[in-house]
């Protein structure tokens, strides 16, 4: 009894020594595979490689595709929580890179674009990781197209998640009337911030990724 009590006290003391906050990061990358945007998948690989080089042991990363209906675990191409030992984490990163390389090489076009479904799936994954910093990257033109059966017009929850739209290319119609492009981005900003996201950013220059993931 006394031994158990001592053990409990020792465990409590050791636990009290540590910082209870999580310092790890979790990143969920959504890759749009619809229509002509599927040709941009090569750039997605650059982002994934950048993340693999930047994330530290203990961090989590997942890559998923945006399809006609994206709220499904089947759309997650690769996911990993890197080991706390650097050598193991490096091995995991190599395996992750090989998996995503295969996906990018054989990407299939989808008829519709369910970005909201991908956001819901990503938010679920990020919350489960329990990471201190949660980031959801959307690699898309942000043009959502849903079939008639798919229902996505309801409030979503993105609390404590920052959402970053990357490589939001302009469509042909945007070139005709740029207000469509800005209106689309504004609508997404309102929706994401309305869902409680901690931050909304748009980055079209891939060289500026450091501003998001550069650790202080």
């Amino acid at each position: 009894m006394i031994r158990a009590l001592l053990l409990a006290l020792l465990t409590a003391a050791l636990t009290a020594c540590g910082d209870p906050r999580s310092h790890s990061q979790a990143v969920y990358v959504l890759v749009d595979t619809s229509g002509t945007y599927s040709q941009e998948a090569g750039k997605a690989q650059v982002i994934i490689n950048y993340l693999l080089g930047t994330l530290q042991p203990g961090d989590s990363l997942a890559v998923a595709r945006v399809e006609s209906r994206s709220f499904s675990e089947k759309d997650i191409i690769a996911k990993a929580t890197f080991d706390r030992r650097p050598s193991q984490a490096n091995a995991q990163k190599r395996a992750f890179r090989d998996t995503t390389n295969g996906f990018v090489a054989n990407v299939k076009q989808s008829r519709y674009t369910d970005i909201t479904g991908g956001l819901l799936q990503g938010a679920e994954f990020l919350r489960e990781t329990g990471a201190g910093t949660k980031t959801l990257i959307i690699f898309s033109d942000m043009q959502e197209e849903l079939d008639k059966m798919t229902v996505r017009d309801f409030p979503i929850d993105l609390k404590q998640i920052r959402v970053v739209a990357i490589n939001v290319v302009k469509l042909k119609t945007d070139n005709v009337d740029p207000r469509r492009y800005f209106g689309r981005l504004e609508a997404w900003q309102k929706r994401v911030q309305g869902a409680g996201a901690s931050e909304w950013r748009v980055i079209n220059d891939l060289e500026r990724l450091d501003s998001i993931f550069g650790r202080t």
Partner: protein, 483 residues
């Protein structure tokens, strides 16, 4: 009427309003002159009093601390010089044991040689037998007149030949005797040299002993000065403590640099052991703390080694242990230190491997192919250097114990002196503030009087008139009395 004109009696004439108000105020201020003066004086005393008390208390505290610092400094100096005197005595004792234990043999040898020289000298003193008495007989014979007699002539000739023969023989004997004495004298030489050499050796040994005695004398003089608690001894010890403090601090800074390099060597590979994602504080990883702990443990082991070797005396408990137990502690600390040094060397190698692995991963992730450095024997130099540093630095850190001891001992003196100076300064500041408060009260009183200068002048004039009137009455009274 605006708010600014509220106080004006005649808003259309501010100057007149101001003048009337000033006159009214003067009357009231004059009436309240005595209580206001007393109030200002009391306020000055109220502020200055506690400040003066505080200054006095601080000065007394500083004096007391100075006395205490002096006592500690002298006691520490006494102990230090005492141990130095002890060491000097030990050196002299060793010198006496080493050099003078063979002194009886040396003395016997010297006496033998002197005896032999004396004997030889006596031999040299043995003169050849003196010439026989017949010399006088020869002289008498030489005076004999021959008178032309051939017989006498022949006898004399015979005597001359005999004498010449005897003379030659005697001369030859005399020469032989001298020759033998010269030989004896010549045989003196090695003995003289030996005696000279022996005496020189004795002289050198005695000089060494004399030097040792002089060193003991010098230390004893210091010791006596400290025991007598002279100002000079205190000053010397204080200056010495400041010098020790500066030197120890400098060495500690250098050692801290070494510890930092050591930390950099093992912090990354420690993440392989305790994990890279755990944090103890918001900015400090567990792996970094583990690396620091290893470095501190190494420094502690070094400290124990130095204590066990009796180089430092930070732990009286270790110093008072028996030789056997002390030797055990020395070996345990040394084995732990060597083990930790080995662990550090391995961690330094792992660090290199982890960095190479990370580099390879980044190269494979890069879109553009990056040039790969040629991996020859030159590429292994940094690895070997890191391992060597990882192994050597713990031993180098072990020597921190020596400057640390100096720093701890000298910090008591330096800190004490600085604290006394701080308290003295605070006392001075309080004294100055007390004076300022007192003077300020006087200045305010004078300013008050300046503000009511008109009624004051009138009062003075009235008093002067009254006094003059009293003076006239007094004069009339005295005249009346005289009449």
């Amino acid at each position: 009427m605006t708010d600014a004109q509220v106080w004006m009696l005649w808003p259309e004439n501010p100057a007149l309003s101001l003048l009337v108000l000033a006159l009214v105020a003067m009357v009231f201020l004059y009436a309240a002159r005595r209580p206001v003066h007393e109030l200002l004086s009391a306020l000055g005393a109220l502020i200055a009093g506690p400040l003066r008390i505080g200054a006095r208390w601080l000065a007394a505290t500083a004096a007391e601390m100075k006395q205490r610092n002096k006592a500690v400094l002298l006691e520490h100096g006494r102990q230090e010089v005492g141990s130095r005197v002890e060491r000097e005595f030990e050196r002299v004792a060793a010198l006496v044991t080493r050099d003078l234990q063979g002194y009886p043999t040396l003395q016997r040898k010297l006496l033998d040689e002197i005896t032999r020289i004396e004997e030889d000298y006596k031999k040299c003193g043995e003169m050849p037998p003196p010439p026989p008495d017949w010399v006088e007989a020869v002289a008498a014979v030489a005076n004999i007149k021959t008178g032309g007699s051939e017989m006498v002539q022949g006898i004399l000739e015979e005597i001359k030949r005999s004498v010449n023969r005897i003379h030659d023989k005697t001369l030859a004997e005399h020469r032989r005797a001298y020759e033998s004495r010269h030989k004896i004298l010549e045989s003196f030489m090695p003995f003289w040299r030996s005696v000279d050499k022996t005496l020189t050796a004795v002289d050198q040994k005695l000089s060494g002993l004399q030097n040792g005695a002089a060193a003991v004398d010098a230390q004893m003089q210091k010791y006596e000065a400290i025991v007598a608690k002279t100002e000079k001894a205190e000053h010397t010890l204080t200056v010495s403590a400041f010098t020790q403090f500066a030197i120890a601090l400098l060495v500690m800074v250098v050692a801290a640099g070494g510890a930092f390099i050591n930390f950099k060597l093992i912090a990354l590979p420690m993440s392989e052991m305790v994990g890279a994602g755990d944090y103890l504080t918001s900015s400090m990883r567990t792996s970094e703390v583990a690396a620091l702990v290893i470095i501190f443990v190494e420094a502690s082991m070094g400290l124990f080694v130095m204590e066990a070797l009796r180089i430092t005396h930070l732990f009286p408990r270790i110093a008072s242990l028996g030789d056997q137990m002390r030797r055990r502690i020395l070996w345990i600390a040394l084995v732990l230190l060597v083990t930790l040094a080995g662990v550090e060397a391995a961690l330094a190698l792992m660090r290199d491997m982890l960095i190479a692995d990370k580099q390879a991963l980044l190269q494979s992730l890069a879109t553009a192919p990056q040039p790969v450095a040629a991996d020859g024997w030159v590429g292994h130099i940094p690895t070997a250097g890191q391992m060597l540093l990882g192994f050597i630095l713990p031993f180098a850190l072990a020597f921190i114990a020596i400057p640390l001891e100096s720093l701890i001992h000298s910090t008591r003196t330096v800190g004490g002196v600085l604290f006394v100076a701080l308290v003295d300064t605070a006392a001075l500041v309080l004294r100055v503030l007390a004076n300022v408060a007192r003077r300020m009260a006087r200045v305010l009183i004078t300013l008050y009087d300046v503000a009511i200068v008109v009624p004051l002048l009138m009062d003075r004039m009235a008093r002067a008139g009254l006094a003059a009137k009293r003076g006239t009455v007094d004069v009339e009274d005295s005249a009346w009395r005289r009449s």
